[in-house]
Symmetry: C2
């Protein structure tokens, strides 16, 4: 992604936060992470993130999904003696479909992206609308997609160590 | 507080969450905690709370302060081998003045409540407006007060064990 494209995406994410009445400082707006997972098609497979706090004990982020945007399937493995990340997703605005391990839902509501279709393998669907939340246990495969308006999701969790995330799609690069 | 008074206070807190565009489910609205700290004057010294998640690892709450309402001074001590709670306060709406140990600010902007005035002992002021946040280390004395419009504060922290909180005012009862 070019610097200009990245900046355009950041502005889209800021508009989404504004729509959801989530206030970020100027400094935070400037460090919104535009993650395209190395797949080069951010609007289809990507995630906007702002990390409020990530210390040795806990982490809180706000996630922004553009309309129909997908965060690809991954899990948070243990790192040595430290268990994998436990995370609670709380929908604040819009609608998001979360898929985790378990009984597959048929049919699912999300449209699996063509790019990397084979790397979506868990289909137990949880629909989250504002005020609804779900806690994902450590080392559990999951992916999620926003509905037509996009979505804002608060993430409360143990410490984030994104560089250790394991993506099902081997072409994904989480931390460039 | 009578059941009717408590219910009236809960409705005020719900209105504050609505003003701040914080969406709670019906179930959550029903379990908003109206903490008057056993002092019997909720609008002066009190706090509205909704706990989103509180597991063995982390906790996330939303705090609601009515106009000029004060949460009295306290700290989160270690419990056996477990360090005291670390917590990050993020202002979402309104304005809040947070007071912690350290160089006293003079003059402070908050008005110390007459009731229990002697039990406010730390005066290092941190003003938080929407998007601003502050992390309070374990076992640190702190208290906070909303400005004239009230305030909504997100709290991200380690596990909450409110029943172990130590209040400077010996008349406080945190968990009735």
């Amino acid at each position: 992604m070019s610097t200009r494209e990245r900046e355009e995406m950041r502005q889209q994410v800021i508009r989404l936060f504004n729509q959801a009445h989530i206030v970020l400082t100027e400094e935070e707006q400037g460090r919104i992470e535009i993650a395209d997972f190395g797949l080069g098609d951010y609007q289809t497979t990507g995630l906007g993130l702002i990390t409020y706090v990530n210390n040795d004990l806990y982490c809180a982020k706000e996630l922004a999904l553009l309309p129909n945007q997908t965060c690809p399937e991954h899990r948070h493995p243990p790192i040595g003696a430290i268990p994998g990340k436990t995370e609670t997703f709380r929908c604040r605005w819009g609608k998001v479909w979360l898929y985790v391990e378990g009984e597959p839902t048929e049919p699912i509501q999300a449209r699996i992206p063509d790019e990397g279709r084979a790397y979506y393998t868990v289909f137990h669907e949880i629909e989250l609308t504002p005020g609804q939340q779900y806690t994902i246990p450590p080392n559990t495969l999951h992916w999620f997609q926003a509905a037509d308006d996009g979505a804002i999701v608060s993430e409360f969790s143990t410490t984030s160590r994104d560089e250790f995330d394991i993506f099902t799609n081997p072409n994904v690069v989480r931390v460039p």
